[in-house]
Symmetry: C2
Subunit: 141 residues, 2 copies
DNA sequence: ACAATTACCTACCAATCCAGTAGGAAAAAA
DNA sequence: TTTTTTCCTACTGGATTGGTAGGTAATTGT
């Protein structure tokens, strides 16, 4: 039950791009240094974000990455789904998965409830929220 | 971001024990068969529950396992914590972990909020709930 | 034109976790 | 004393995690 570094770092890379956007693309090296993530590892994560069209890459000198949309339009859910593969907390709720015992499983309903709760949480938080929001103590989904 | 089979099966073993308690200990073989879990694997999971004092084991003929307390007193949270090791969704929130970047991490507060939400969810559901509760659609933590 | 800078690509690695399985020893009751 | 049960140690193949290494392709500033 853990979000891996890949997903966590992806969020930080996205936040960093959002905070440092000025029209020009931001080189990965700068982002990685600010976030204290090895640039090689950051590179492999940024590649996922780029292939998923969450960021736009520009090669060559004075190239780098930039967000493709407004920070407020990115949800934490979509970033984590892309990098982690899925946000379902149990295998039985995976896309296309069907448990043969689902008819008499006493735990399935609880997992479904949790699944919905997580989806609502993750899809309710945006990159902009991560930057702006100071106090999360009263945040309710 | 997955609860492993160990945790999921542990819940089902506990529910099965709760549903079939009649004063006598229930042999693991029966539980495993009903739950369609290989008895060898079920054995290794039950050993964890036994060492954690969530169930009482009785050896020898006519032995087996029984719950040590009332089903309503077991929370899903304690069972998963025992079997999964922890329920914290990110490594930075682990017991004793301290991230050196915590002062300027834009994601920490969100993780803390999620952590609290998960704890409240898991500690709010009991084995009895798993057996009794039909409709979870309106369940709120 | 060319050197510098950037993203892109393939391949590799050690360590850990996952989901079990195998084979017996110890305890207790019938 | 046989049978039934839990308990214990060890093993395993495969996947995932958290990276690293080294080179290729594109683009631009000089």
């Amino acid at each position: 039950m853990k979000i891996s570094t890949k997903g966590r770092y992806a969020l930080r890379l996205m936040v960093d791009l959002a905070e440092h956007q000025n029209g020009d693309p931001v080189p990965l090296k700068e982002v990685a240094e600010r976030q204290e993530i090895s640039s090689k590892y950051a590179e492999s994560i940024m590649a996922i974000l780029s292939k998923g069209d969450l960021v736009i890459a520009e090669r060559g000198k004075s190239g780098g990455y930039r967000l493709s949309r407004d920070p407020s339009s990115y949800t934490v859910g979509e970033i984590l789904t892309l990098t982690e593969g899925s946000l379902h907390p149990v295998a039985c709720l995976e896309e296309g998965a069907r448990c043969p015992r689902e008819g008499n499983c006493r735990t399935l309903a609880m997992w479904q409830r949790l699944d919905r709760m997580l989806a609502e949480f993750f899809n309710g938080v945006t990159i902009e929220d991560l930057i702006e929001k100071e106090d999360w103590s009263d945040y309710v989904i």
